[in-house]
């Protein structure tokens, strides 16, 4: 108990109390000279077109990025788990690389890579494609960069889960005549469920809260919530809106957090 006390106090006084105060402050609204508690600020957010669109845009970009990352990372993890050889070893070392590249640098690299007269445009020009849809300063740019930056982490977690699956189980499935797809669906996917939930929820929360990538690669409008919060806080001198937006995004992240907690506790109870 005594050992848990310091981190517990830290958690309460540095995270829980300030967060609760901030959420309370978003509910405190001045009306006719006295303070009342109401959801007026949230109503204002949902009634301001640009803010409402920002919330929807954030959810869309986050879901798309998380889904794309998940599919690519799962494929990569399966390959690394079940394939031996030089290519596999090389890939196993290479995929981790983005983890060691600062996001700021990665974002700028993506911009020069994808922009109007950038690398991709030049390549397409050689092939004969002249008209290219804009790939940066919009949702596409954010999703591409988020996927690039999140793949190593997602692959690591999924790979760890896959490596925990006993080879004997897979071999026996093969022995009774199951093909690759059937083995994946009936054996690997369910056995790797916890790693899947952890990956998805952490990807979701990570991308939802990311700032550098949407700030540098995103467009004028709509903007992701993290960028909007920063603008209202420091550029527009309206911290109240910023805090309400933060509380809103905290609520969205809490849903993913709940999925994570359920997933982990299921494993601890030995259900999976």
């Amino acid at each position: 108990m005594a050992l848990v006390l310091p981190p517990f106090c830290l958690l309460v006084f540095v995270i829980v109390v300030p967060a609760a105060q901030a959420v309370l402050s978003t509910l405190r609204v001045e009306q006719d000279g006295h303070v009342v508690y109401s959801l007026a600020r949230y109503a204002q957010i949902l009634h301001t077109v640009s803010l409402y669109r920002s919330v929807a845009f954030t959810l869309l970009v986050t879901l798309a990025s998380a889904a794309a990352t998940f599919v690519l990372a799962y494929t990569l993890a399966l390959y690394l788990r079940f394939s031996q050889g030089r290519v596999s070893t090389l890939l196993g070392a290479l995929f981790i690389l983005p983890l060691f590249i600062p996001t700021v640098i990665a974002s700028f690299a993506m911009v020069t890579f994808l922009q109007n007269h950038g690398f991709v445009a030049t390549l397409l020009h050689y092939v004969g494609v002249e008209e290219m849809p804009p790939l940066v300063f919009n949702a596409v740019g954010i999703v591409l960069t988020e996927v690039w930056a999140s793949i190593p982490f997602a692959t690591l977690v999924l790979l760890a889960g896959l490596q925990g699956i006993d080879d004997a189980l897979i071999d026996s499935a093969r022995d009774v005549g199951a093909g690759a797809v059937r083995t994946f669906r009936a054996v690997i996917l369910p056995l790797n469920a916890v790693a899947t939930i952890i990956t998805l929820s952490l990807l979701f929360v990570g991308i939802l809260g990311s700032f550098t990538i949407p700030y540098l690669v995103g467009g004028n409008a709509p903007q992701m919530m993290s960028v909007v919060m920063t603008n209202y806080f420091s550029n527009y001198l309206r911290p109240d809106v910023s805090v309400a937006m933060a509380a809103l995004s905290f609520g969205i992240a809490a849903l993913a957090g709940a999925a994570y907690v359920v997933g982990v506790s299921r494993r601890e109870r030995g259900v999976v």
Binding site: R53, N220, N235
Partner: protein, 380 residues
Amino acid sequence: MRNWRIIPRTIAVVAVVCVFALGLWGLPARGQMTAANLYISGDTNIQDMFNKDLLPLFERDTSVKTNMVFLSHGQGADAILAKIIAAKRAGQQTDVDFYETQPTYIAESASEGIWAQITKDNVPNSAKVDLQRPEVLVSQGFGLPYRGSSVVLAYNSKYITDPPKTYDEIIAWIKKNPGKFTYCDPQTCGSGQAFLYVALYKYANSADFTGLGYDANKEAAWRPALELLRSLKPAIYNNGFYPNGNVAVLQLLGRENIYMAPVWSDLGMSYLDQGLLPKSIKLVQVSPPFTGGDSAIAIPAHAMHQGAGMMFLNWLLTSKAQSIVVNKLAGYPGIQWKYMPQDMRDKFAGIATNFNPLPNAKYQADAKRLWQEQVAGSGQ
């Protein structure tokens, strides 16, 4: 063994203390020998101009020595202000004899009584400065401009033979030539802000927003301006793409992706000089003019070498020094154009008029927010 070792350590400690003590004692003593301490902020072009051109010339002209303390991009400008105020409160002199900073800084601390009133008696050349300039007004009369830049309209004369002369003509041109105009996101650059503020001033009285007061209700007058900018969105480059930063706009102009845009006079001039913009790009000021103005000079009332500071300010406002400033920075002089040599007036003919003052910081923040909410983020 232990005692033996303590001796060199003690000596080392004493030596360090002595060096520091001497340093503290010695610095003010040396400061009295150099004549004027000039605190100047800005980018490296400003630093170069003072180091290589202005200060050597001033020292040769007057044989007064100067010591420049350069605050790169205004970093530490706050601390210098705090130092001046602290000296005043303690009833001491300050070693800051000449302070170049943002006019709002000068205004905020004016109530402390730290600034000397500059008149034509102590700085004769101050009479050449237009006292209606935003830098003077915003700094409550304690700051004098010596350089300025303004946002102007850049257009490609290869495609536009009859450039717009008024803001309304710009709007009409944009609607007639869709996709060939843009301005940067006001969040990220001053030239886009200028385009926004002049639209606001078109429907509202600019004097309501440039002073120190703040009343959010006055912003109701901005509504038609924001409506106007929103209606322009389909005619903006790439269906409403507002680039980030001044440089991005200049690049679009350079590649002839767009034919017209608001740009900073000094940036545009220096891009033209470096060949980064085609020679067919011309800069003009329109009516009503775009916004501009940035820095001002104030002299502390309790400056140690106030006379030398004022002497430098007076010299800086001569047409000789002003010509150097305008040439080096491709900007506006601090004194009125009529006091500038004829060849300078000819060179800057397109932009040699005045500019509109900026709204104060709170109105600026609100204007940027409303632009984001009602123009960029409106979803048509």
